[in-house]
Every structure is written in C-alpha cells, then in structure tokens.
Amino acid sequence: MLVLLALAVLITYLWSLPKPWHPDTRTAAELARQIVLPLYMGFLLPVICLGYASAAIADERTGETLVYLLTTNIPRPLVYLSKYAAALLLTLGMTLGGLAALCLVPGKIGLEALGIFWTVTACATAAYVGLFLLFSAWVRRATFLALAYALMIETLTGNIPGVVKRITVSFYAKSWLYESGEPIDLAPGGVVLGLFDPVTAATAQWVLGLASVGFVALGMWIFSRKEYD
C-alpha cells in the first residue's frame, strides 16, 4: 500500500514539474482533474480501503485466530463494530495522509484541492471500509471479492452512462466533488456532465452516510449469525 502511495506521489511530483510543452505553473483545477480525481479517487482510494478492510476479519479466519474473538464474552456485534472502528481509523490515516501527500507535493495549489477533497475522501472511506469489511465477514477470500468489486463495479460500471453506476460509491463521491469543486471548475462540461448525470451534494452525502451505516449494520448481522470454520 505504501509502495502504491509512494508511486502516486512520484507521478504527481513529475506531473508538477515544468515541461517544454507545458511551461506554465499548474493550477489547483488541473491537479484535481488530472491527478486527484482519476488517480486517487478512482483507483488508490478503493484499493487502500480494500487492502485494510477486507483483511480485517478474513485474515483472522485464515490465521485461525478468529476463534479467540468468537469465544470472548464480547457480543459478536460489538466485536464486529470494534473491527470496523479499528479498520476505519487505520484506513482514514492512510487515505487522508495519502491525499495530503499527493496534494502537497505540487506546492500551494494543492491546499485548495485538499480542502475540497478531504471531506469526500473521509466519507467515501467510511463507505468503502463498511463494504469491504462486510465482504470480510461474509466470505473467506474477501480480498479477491473486494478486488473484483473495485475493478469491475467501481471502475467499469462507475464510468458507463446510465443509472447503473448509481450502485457505486465512486458515483456519489464524484457527484459531491463536482458540486463542492465549483470554485475550481472541477466538473466536466456539457455533454460529459449530462451523461454522468450527478446527484446533488446533499443527496450524495446522505447516500454515502446511509450506505456506511447500512454496510456496518448488515456486516454486524452477518457476523453475529455466521458459523465460521
């Protein structure tokens, strides 16, 4: 995970250097549109989240240490909630830290982008961690399922026109960003935006919040009933 982040920071640094074909100083809007949105929000964020959250319970299963958690006097839903809290804290540290590193590499222009992205990143992290931890409670090889989800559903479905992409977390994160990023003209123009058909930021916030709570509640329900081998 740290290697991926370091690679992203390197790419951002190289991108920010003045080039013969682009001698002008980079702007916050360019940083947001060319680096943070596609590279970070579209790829790194779900990958970091799945890396930590999908392993939280699945690793205890494969490592045969889950038995110690299942035989304590802590009710199973609380065990799950503790796992969620721990995974969320760890992942938030990585996602927000990674975002900050990515935004601050090009200098001052990144501060503006960071101000726009950090709340969306935090909320999307909460939703992703809830979803991937749910996978972890549900199946043994949760990382494969989470990876398939991130690549197939979030990346492919999230980029096709129509309403299907509304099942993805990234759709709501982007919708929110397009509205909050108006000062730097973050949203794409005309037809592209029409095809994307974003919801309002308020709707996106509600959906992300409810999805996070829903994923955690469903995960608690599964974890408290499932018989693990």
Binding site: E64, V67, T71, N73
Partner: protein, 318 residues
C-alpha cells in the same frame, strides 16, 4: 450407554443436541452433562469431537437441541464468561510477546490496567511461562505455545475449561506438570473437558470419560463404570501366584469367573463376568486359602481397551 454416576455440579449440559453440515450429520442426539472434575472426550477422527467442542464453546449453533453453560445458552456472550478454550491449532497473535499476548487476552475479557497485568502475571506463573514471556510468541516451541494458549484460556478464571489436545507437542515432564495443573483446577471445582486421541493419557487423568463415535455418544461415566457395563466383554484379570495349577479349579468355582487359563510359570488369566462381585468373591477366597497371590491386575480396563470394545459394539449390526 450412560452409567449411573451423575456429575456433582452440572456446569454444562447438552440436551438432545444434533448438528449437521449440509447432508453430513456431525452429532446425533447427544445428551450429556459436564460437571466439576476432569472429563475426557475420546473418539476417532471424524467422530464429532471438534464439533462437540465448538458447540460447547458457542462457536457454532445446534441444528436441534440446546446447550447450557452455567445456566446460559452456550451461543450467548454471557455463557462465554464461564468458558476458557484452548483450541487445537497453534495459531495465535505471533508478533506479540507472551506477556503482551496475555495482557491483550485479559483486556479482551474486560480486565484493564493493573488488574489485567496482575492476571497476566499470575497466569504466566501458573503455566510456567513467566521467565520466557518477553520473547515473541513466534519464537516459541510447540510445547511453549501450548502453555501460552492454556494461559489465554485461564486468564479470566473460567468455570469450564475446554482443552482440545492440550498435551500435543509437550514433553513428558511438561505433560506431567500440565496434568497436575488440570487436577489442581479440577480440585478447585472447575470443569475441565479434555479432548485427546492419545487414549492412555486419559487412564490416569480423567474422572469421567465421554466416548464418541460417528456423531453419537457411545458411553459416558467413569472408566470403571463403563467397563463394568460391557457384559459382552468379560473382564480379563491376570493373577500371579505361587501355585497356579492348584488354585485354578477353585477359582473356576466362583460364580463370577467365566474361564481360567494357566500361563506358565506362575500366572493365571481369568475372564470375569461381574467385576465388582468377582473382587468381593476373590477377597474372601484369598483370605480363606493359601493362594500366595503376588499380583492381581485387570488387563483390559484401560481407556484404549474400553474404547476398542465400545467401537466393536458400535460396529455391530443392531
């Protein structure tokens, strides 16, 4: 087959418990009580021992029937207050030191600060790991891991201790130390359930034994009681005496003696139908005759022998 010896204080009870995984029936209508003292759980591979232990420790739910531990449903978190489990696998959080692992385990049981430290130290002392507790668990030998796992099971002072092959990988001296520890815990009124495939371990250790095969409880009770009930397998008794040829005909006159064979130079091998009656009759006989008995030993009262008889009986068509 349940013998009449009832457990003194019932700490765990299984009522008509069945468990199946898809089409496979792992346990079939098991009724048992576990009380204070050491109870051995014996059965071949695939008999249902692990399923029984997992049910008892609330890791899985019954398909039919109910399990109570200290009056609470085994699946509930409250029941787990009373259960300490030492699982079969070696896995634990290897990156921690033994001491840290014990404190974390105490923390998971709701003990914090000084109390968690006190319990951790006390348990490390009990399992004989206090001096080696600062090393990471990953550097421990198999025997040391067993001790640490046992410590994890004991840290909250449970009423029911469930041990899955606890002596696996422990050296003979360590085995004796741990057996002494189990006896001490049992003497404190705790219920210690020990699963083992090494049958002779149970001969001296267990107060009661549960024989399980193909998901059914074949017999439960003390070894002697179960042996007495195996009518179709007369007890074999070896007697060493001064004049075996003289006393053999007289022994044959005893009602409980089914057959006598002479094993030169000085042994007699008896087949006895009713062991308790035989011991009474033989006592009178030895006192009234100059039999010069040097040794008397039942040769098939071990856990292994009883287990073989039970398996044989179970394999027979109804």
């Amino acid at each position: 087959m349940n013998t009449e010896s009832r457990v003194t204080t019932t700490l765990a009870e299984m009522r008509n418990v069945s468990k199946w995984f898809g089409p496979v029936m792992a346990l079939n209508g098991v009724n048992l009580e576990i009380g204070s003292g050491i109870t051995g759980l014996v059965g071949p591979n695939g008999a249902g021992k692990t399923t029984l232990l997992r049910l008892l420790t609330g890791q899985i739910k019954t398909s039919l029937g109910g399990i109570d531990v200290c009056g609470r449903d085994a699946w509930s978190a409250r029941a787990k207050d009373h259960i300490g489990l030492c699982p079969f696998g070696d896995a634990t959080w290897d990156e921690l030191s033994g001491r840290k692992l014990m404190r974390v385990t105490a923390g998971m049981r709701g003990f914090t600060g000084a109390e968690a430290r006190r319990r951790a130290e006390s348990v490390l002392e009990t399992v004989g790991m206090a001096k080696r507790a600062d090393r990471p668990v990953r550097t421990y030998s198999k025997g040391m891991r067993q001790r640490i796992k046992l410590g994890q099971a004991l840290v909250h002072d449970p009423d029911l201790l469930v041990l899955d092959e606890p002596l696996n990988g422990v050296d003979p001296v360590g085995c004796e130390e741990l057996n002494d520890l189990f006896r001490t815990l049992a003497a404190q009124g705790k219920a210690v359930l020990v699963s083992s495939h090494i049958l002779h371990e149970m001969d001296q250790l267990a107060d009661r034994i549960l024989f399980i095969c193909r998901g059914k409880l074949l017999a439960s009770g003390s070894l002697a009681e179960i042996r007495d009930m195996l009518d179709d397998h007369p007890l074999k008794v070896r007697i060493s005496c001064g004049s075996p040829r003289c006393i053999a005909p007289q022994l044959l006159m005893l009602e409980s003696v089914k057959s006598v064979s002479i094993e030169p130079p000085s042994d007699l091998l008896l087949e006895v139908q009713n062991p308790s009656r035989f011991y009474a009759e033989f006592g009178e006989f030895a006192a009234g005759n100059d039999a010069q008995v040097q040794r008397l030993k039942a040769t098939d009262t071990s856990t292994e022998a009883v287990f073989d008889y039970l398996m044989e009986r179970a394999a027979r068509p109804e």
